[in-house]
């Protein structure tokens, strides 16, 4: 198995990446800023801080996933650094999976640092640690990994700019897709029902990975929401990664 070596190299690469460090610092600073924003709310300071903090994590996770995910392969292909790796006794899928695994490790570290920052801010207000935040953060992490998988998929097919737009479109559509399902349920007689449901099933339902509201508002969560979310996300990203590996397997490294 050669992918761990590639994963370790990718981790080293991304951790030394200035863009990533800047995004992370900005995210942590923004979570810190939520203290000020929380001041403006009336009696809902803790809620606002948690909501703001989790949203910031999700947004910056998305930015990192798109920017670093797309750069990861595109840069290797453009700078031709991949030649010396792909010509070794290594399977193509191991290269791709190693890249994904390495970036996943970096993202895990980022998410942990952002969660620690959020807990620190929460501590200042509530003088206690809300461990429920971790449940939402776990699913934010799974969502970011899914976006990374899409970023790799699109960057193996199209130019970096188009790949970034397509990945962002999946993120937005993924959060809006339940509307399609609800629409069909509210209007069962609609003519394009089959098409709407097909789109609903093809696009990932990222709301399955969204526990922010439930955690912040202390709402009752569906049973096994975290476990089911992880399973859904991992299955979905596995399909996307397998499709990307199949494309990469046939790709000419010109």
């Amino acid at each position: 198995m050669k992918w761990p070596a590639i994963a370790s190299l990718t981790y080293k690469e991304t951790i030394r990446n200035r863009i990533l460090i800047n995004i992370l610092l900005f995210a942590v600073a923004l979570i810190g800023l939520s203290l000020v924003i929380g001041e403006w709310s009336l009696g809902e300071q803790a809620k606002v801080i948690k909501d703001f903090g989790l949203s910031a994590m999700s947004l910056f996770g998305l930015l990192i996933a798109i920017f670093i995910g797309i750069r990861l392969m595109v840069q290797e292909l453009e700078q031709k650094t991949l030649y010396l790796v792909a010509s070794k006794p290594v399977r193509r899928w191991e290269i791709l999976f190693g890249k994904f695994a390495g970036l996943s490790m970096t993202l895990l570290l980022n998410v942990i640092l952002m969660l620690l920052a959020l807990w620190a801010v929460d501590w200042v207000i509530e003088k206690r640690i809300d461990f429920q935040l971790a449940a939402a953060v776990v699913l934010i992490y799974v969502e970011i990994l899914l976006i990374v998988a899409f970023a790799l998929f699109f960057s193996s097919l199209m130019s970096p700019t188009l790949a970034a737009v397509a990945t962002l479109a999946v993120f937005i559509a993924g959060h809006l897709s339940p509307i399609l399902r609800d629409y069909v349920q509210l209007r069962p007689g609609t003519g394009l029902k089959g098409l709407y449901m097909a789109i609903y099933y093809v696009i990932p339902n990222l709301e399955n990975l969204n526990l922010k509201m439930a955690v912040v508002e202390h709402l009752e969560r569906p049973p096994h929401a975290v476990e089911m979310g992880i399973l859904y996300g991992v299955l979905y990203l596995s399909f996307v990664l397998i499709a990307t590996c199949m494309i990469f397997e046939k790709k000419d490294l010109k």
Binding site: L9, Y83, S87, K250, D252, K254
Partner: protein, 307 residues
């Protein structure tokens, strides 16, 4: 196991044209048999298909048709690369790593144990002359240093077969000599070497056999002796002719160059050279040197490419 280190059969590569552009044939029906231990130089002008061939050998490109076998194993399997070292043209290496870190990574890709990796890295760093820079980031390396490191990574698995794309380009004269010495050392170790070059002089020094590629087609292969040894280009004679002057030679004035008391003349074959030498001696002249000028690889290359 095949006694051929590298074999290609009707190897063809067609690049799909971008939107609105025609397809382009990069390589057409290449048949090559490179025996183990041979040094084979692949020559051709820019765009002839040298790099395409090398990328097909090293699995970077997928052939449109035909096949490649390395040590008797089809290169559709990644295992075929286990005994191969490859250096790309103008290699780009991860700038955020040090030379040691990069070689260690390459060692891991070959599945080498940490102890073996450490030992080989020490030896290779010494061999390519990067001892003083082995712990600095590669992004600060010059082109020549990167090329040396590229050569080191190609040797990390102690390969039987080395595939080198323009290994002697981008180097200063000292670097070129060092790299040539490394290649000659590998030749002495009976490694199989397949290298492309546009510097014909290097091929003449290093290669056992040469292939000339043009417009994606192999136009000629053979040993240097076979390709260049058959024909004499000219025979140069340096002499002095004291009394009767050059007229005794009975030669065209275009073929006579005088410098001081010495005269340089040349002829196309050994028989006429013999006649001229006799005339010089009979007229009381002296012969200082007789030098046969052999057809060089460059002459052959130019005549093949220009048709």
């Amino acid at each position: 196991m095949s006694h051929f280190a590298i074999q290609t059969s009707r190897l063809r590569k067609v690049y799909k044209g971008e939107l609105g552009q025609k397809d382009y044939t990069g390589l057409e029906g290449l048949d090559l048999d490179i025996p183990a231990g041979e040094v084979f130089a692949f020559l051709g002008p820019n765009g002839a298909g040298k790099t395409t061939t090398i990328k097909l050998l090293t699995r970077l490109l997928k052939p449109s048709s035909g096949s490649v076998t390395i040590n008797g194993v089809s290169n559709t399997s990644h295992h075929s690369m286990e005994r191969v070292g490859y250096l790309s043209e103008q290699p780009n290496i991860y700038g955020y790593l040090t030379a040691r870190e990069f070689l260690d990574f390459i060692g891991k890709l070959f599945g080498l144990d940490p102890g073996v990796r450490k030992k080989r890295i020490d030896g290779l760093i010494e061999l390519v002359g990067l001892k003083d820079r082995d712990r600095t980031l590669i992004r600060g390396f010059s082109r020549g240093m990167t090329q040396r490191l590229g050569m080191a990574q190609a040797l990390m698995n102690e390969p039987d077969i080395l595939i080198l794309d323009e290994p002697l380009s981008n180097l200063d004269p000292v670097g070129r000599k060092d790299m040539r010495d490394i290649i000659l050392g590998l030749k002495a170790e009976k490694k199989t070497l397949f290298f492309s070059s546009h510097i014909l002089h290097d091929a003449e020094i290093v290669a056992d056999r040469v292939g000339i590629l043009d417009h994606g087609r192999l136009v000629q292969t053979g040993t240097l002796q076979e390709l260049t040894g058959s024909g004499l280009k000219t025979i140069e004679i340096v002499c002095s002719i004291p009394q009767a002057g050059e007229s005794v030679l009975g030669l065209n004035r275009d073929r006579i160059v005088r410098q001081g008391d010495r005269t340089l003349t040349w002829t196309d074959d050994m028989e006429s050279a013999q006649v001229i030498l006799e005339k010089i001696l009979r007229s009381g002249g002296k012969v200082f040197s007789v030098t046969p000028q052999r057809k060089s690889l460059e002459d052959l290359f130019i005549s093949r490419i220009r048709g």
